[in-house]
Amino acid sequence: MTLPLFSTTDDPGPDFAGLMQRLRVPSGVPATGGTAESTRFRHGTTVVALRFADGVVMAGDRRATEGHSIAHRAMQKVFPADRYSAVAIAGAAGPAVEMVRLFQTQLEHYEKVEGVVLSLEGKANQLSQMVRAHLPMAMQGLAVVPLFAGYDLSRGAGRIFTYDVTGGHYEESEYNATGSGGRDARTTIKLGYRAGLSRDEAVELAIQALYEAADEDSATGGPDLIRGIYPLVATVTASGFESVEEAEVAELFASLIERRRAEGHQP
């Protein structure tokens, strides 16, 4: 390795992806032509995000599938993007996790080179460009659809952005979900959502949404009580990204099931 120095006219600035191109480090899987069979690679499924009074809650199940098989039971789909934002992924697991890694590096790289943190809008746009660059692969069946949420320090509020495979990004005013169980998760949140939820209410609603999605969608994993694997939940507020403790998530699932039983439903 040599010291990466560039002439002033060819300097990539704070852009890490641009730097990788100039250094000819391959990032991402090259497009091959043809369509990938979905039984050959791993898929991540349901992730949700919703706003509450102090910020946003993000949650994701843990299941990865290869066709009809379960490929992994404890996959991480919710990641801190930086101190004040989180990114969750659904779609082809390999490129999705790689995109998160590149995104995290990109944000930190910008912050270190420039000495200031990107605005939340700027971060959302950066992710948009990465999804867009991935479009050729999405056309071959390897789509990655992230969900981005963070705390906007200049507005003092949580914000959520959804994406489509073409890199379009759309701000959501309340909540959204993506992935194969996204529709069921979204409906569940819709029924329980109101503006100004407390943190505990929002976390509970997210958990309920994943529970219902897992109930209806075979590719979404529910709480695995036998192995002790639970969906990952995180909040982003003025004090930054915080993971919700596994014990709290486990307890919320237990009380959800308990409540269902007491009401006379099958859990």
Binding site: M1, T2, L3, P4, L5, F16, L19, M20, L23, V25, R101, L102, T105, E108, H109, K112, V113, G115
Partner: protein, 226 residues
């Protein structure tokens, strides 16, 4: 037709060294101290936006004195090196020693081959782990690299500052004690320096993955007054 004059290589090197030293001596000095709670880097720098100290990676910091545009370019290339390495391998594979070597190679190459040497002196500081000790790599304008385990002084007039610190340094200093010693040594006998005239950053555990943190004026004054 004019013939180029012959200049002895010794003279060329001497002239270049003198030129670089003069450039560096025009700026103010900078001190880094290893203490019981981590590493503190203190620069005599009244500017709040043109930094001399910067973050390179999780446990690595950079500091430079001399010509701003030249050491800032080195800082950015260090971040690029560290981020690409961490991305290609793993975060724990990024270490200060290899980066310090690259800097030394580059400065040495510019000093011997280019018309003008870089008028900078830089520092790469790494917060230790259980497996690696705290380390300060001091790299001079001509590529000479030295590693220090107690403190490093960069800038024009370093001898007086180094002598003071050499006498005072203690392994059990906490952040406040190390900062006071650094500020005292930088200020000398006839000045006092306060937060607004200083740029201070620390490498310390307990703030998550990224150990680098800047101290604001109030924090600096608070630590100086304890």
């Amino acid at each position: 037709m004019s013939m180029p004059y012959y200049v002895a290589p010794e003279q060329v090197m001497k002239d270049r060294a003198e030129y670089a030293q003069k450039g560096i001596a025009r700026g103010r000095s900078l001190v880094a101290i290893v203490h019981a709670e981590g590493i503190v880097i203190v620069a005599d720098n009244p500017s709040h936006s043109l930094h001399k100290i910067g973050e390179i990676y999780d446990r690595i910091a950079f500091a430079g004195v001399g010509k701003y545009n030249e050491f800032d370019q080195l800082r950015v290339s260090g971040i690029r090196h560290a981020d690409t390495k961490g991305y290609a391998y793993s975060r724990e594979d990024v270490e200060a020693r290899s980066l310090a070597n690259l800097y030394a190679q580059y400065l040495g190459q510019v000093f011997t081959n280019e018309m003008k040497p870089l008028e900078v002196e830089i520092l790469v500081a790494e917060l230790g782990t259980e497996l690696r000790p705290n380390q300060l790599y001091h790299i001079a304008y001509e590529g000479t690299i030295t590693d220090e385990s107690r403190f490093a002084v960069l800038g024009g007039e370093t001898e007086g500052i180094a002598a003071v610190l050499d006498e005072q340094w203690q392994a059990d200093w906490n952040l406040s004690a190390a900062l006071k010693a650094a500020v005292g040594a930088l200020a000398g006998d006839d000045r006092t320096l306060r937060g607004s005239q200083l740029e201070v950053a620390v490498l310390a555990d307990g703030f998550g993955r990224r150990a680098f943190r800047r101290l604001d004026d109030d924090e600096i004054d608070g630590l100086l007054d304890t």
